[in-house]
């Protein structure tokens, strides 16, 4: 099972194709504020993360996730279950 660092690395890789502004990524990077993603981009990115880890990130969970670090935490938790 992947640990949090591996998950974080994988998420950064998945952000790549959607990071049109070339924003430098850290755990504190926000999807809305820093990456400036619209709802459609969020949808495509979430689908990519879901498919990569074979998980479901419900819209209820998505509402609580603002930063890359929070996403990594959520994925880590989902992988444990």
């Amino acid at each position: 099972m992947a640990n949090r660092e591996e998950i974080m690395a994988k998420i950064s890789e998945l952000i790549g194709p959607f990071n049109n502004k070339g924003v430098e990524l850290s755990a504190a990077t926000t999807f809305q504020g820093n990456l400036e993603w619209d709802s459609l981009t969020v949808m495509d990115f979430v689908a990519a993360v879901e498919d990569e880890f074979d998980i479901i990130i419900t819209m209820n969970m998505q509402a609580e996730i603002e930063t890359v670090g929070q996403l990594a935490d959520a994925v880590t938790k989902l992988m444990e279950n």
Binding site: A47, I55, I56
Partner: protein
């Protein structure tokens, strides 16, 4: 004090910027007179209506109007009560009978609007620990039904069967699942691949709700919707619909063959905690629904109109939401809001009303000029409409 309305400042600014370009406010049109399902007087000018969802033109049907007048005389102007208290008249029961006849289903429940039907049924069916799986382009009423309930919400890419299947497979096998689909998606007028989608729902133990708001009365041999046209209506657990489109009045409903369906009348809050529809509305709805059962010729004419307008707009060089006419909605894609508003205004000046649709209601941040045809549009009117699109399109440089 924090001004609670300051959160809307960006939208206020956007509107001011738009109106500063000199365009008329596209969201404050007033119809002074309505002459027929297809013609109204707007700003003193006779205007062809091409954005009303009045698909079957029932609003001015003689039998429908007579039924409404009779009910108004005999039962008064309103019920002043909930369906579960003093708000169920024989006319409400009769309207539910008409729906059961129309859909050949066992149960029907009438709500005060289509919005409330989705709000009520979705929030009541899917409770804590259950899952609602919905298309990302779902109507606001579906999203609001999700927000009102306590279920987990899972979205999948628009009309993508594989994306739906993947998500269903990842959910716990024992969890309750409601997949919410629409027959026709109202922004682009495209149709869902219900046959495939419903198959994967059933394979994964999910119940299926299909919103047929934009297909009732028109699509399918008996006008029951896309699920009828695709031969899968028997596998749909709940159909949601509205009276404010083909039926030509206001109200919403859910029909189902589920043996326990009737209990929803007692537990569905948007059904219980609101006044029922006025008697005249119930009488017009029942009369209209029963007439729609035998409207094969009108359905055929509406298809002709839709195909003709779609082909004509493509020939003029407009970009449309679907490769061919899939419903009575033809969406013209505009490059941005400003151009869309200019084109909307130019069409109105020509004497044509269409809907200007903009984000966030639209998918992919599109600005759309959404046209919806009526079975009462004549072939000559469709020719006139195409002439107006050509003139307006050239005037604003859209084609």
């Amino acid at each position: 004090m924090t001004d609670l309305l300051s959160k809307f400042d960006p939208l206020i600014q956007e509107r001011e910027n738009l109106l500063a370009t000199g365009v008329k406010d596209p969201f404050s049109l007033v119809m002074e007179e309505v002459l027929s399902p297809t013609v109204a007087i707007c700003d003193g000018k006779e205007t062809i209506l091409l954005g009303t969802y009045n698909y079957m033109g029932m609003t001015f049907d003689d039998d429908v109007r007579q039924a409404g007048l009779k009910a108004l005389e005999e039962f008064g102007s309103g019920t002043t009560g909930s369906r579960v208290f003093n708000g169920t008249y024989s006319l409400h029961r009769d309207c539910e009978e008409a729906l059961k006849e129309f859909y050949a289903m066992d149960h029907a429940m009438v709500f005060s609007t289509g919005y409330q039907a989705n709000l009520g049924i979705i929030s009541t069916l899917a409770g804590k620990g259950d899952y609602v799986i919905l298309d990302i382009d779902s109507h606001a009423s579906i999203y609001d039904g999700c927000a009102m309930g306590n279920a987990e919400i899972v979205a999948f890419r628009h009309n993508d069967v594989e994306a739906l299947e993947k998500r269903l497979r990842r959910l716990p096998a024992e969890a309750g699942k409601l997949v919410v689909l629409e027959g026709v998606y109202s922004m682009l007028g495209d149709v869902a691949p219900l046959t495939e989608m419903i198959r994967v729902c059933k394979e994964n133990g999910a119940m299926v709700l299909v919103d047929e708001a934009h297909s009732m009365g028109f699509i399918g041999e008996n006008g029951r919707g896309v699920s009828e046209a695709q031969g899968v209506i028997d596998d749909v657990d709940f159909i949601i619909g509205t009276f404010s489109k083909s039926v030509g009045t206001v109200g919403g409903f859910c029909v189902s063959n589920h043996p326990k369906f009737e209990i929803l009348r007692l537990v569905c809050r948007p059904y219980v905690f609101t006044a029922s529809l006025p008697p005249s509305v119930m009488a017009t709805a029942s009369t209209s629904i029963r007439k729609l059962m035998h409207s094969g010729n009108k359905r055929a004419h509406l298809w002709e109109n839709s195909k003709k307008l779609h082909q004509g707009l493509r020939d003029l060089g407009f970009t449309l939401g679907t490769p061919e006419a899939q419903s009575a909605i033809i969406a013209v894609i505009m490059p941005d809001l400003e151009k869309g508003a200019m084109m909307w205004q130019a069409l109105l000046a020509e004497g044509l009303y269409v809907n200007l649709a903009r984000p966030p209601a639209t998918p992919a941040n599109m600005t759309l000029l959404r046209c919806s045809l009526c079975a009462e549009h004549t072939g000559e009117q469709v020719d006139q409409i195409l002439g107006m699109f050509e003139a307006a399109g050239k005037a604003v440089g859209a084609i």
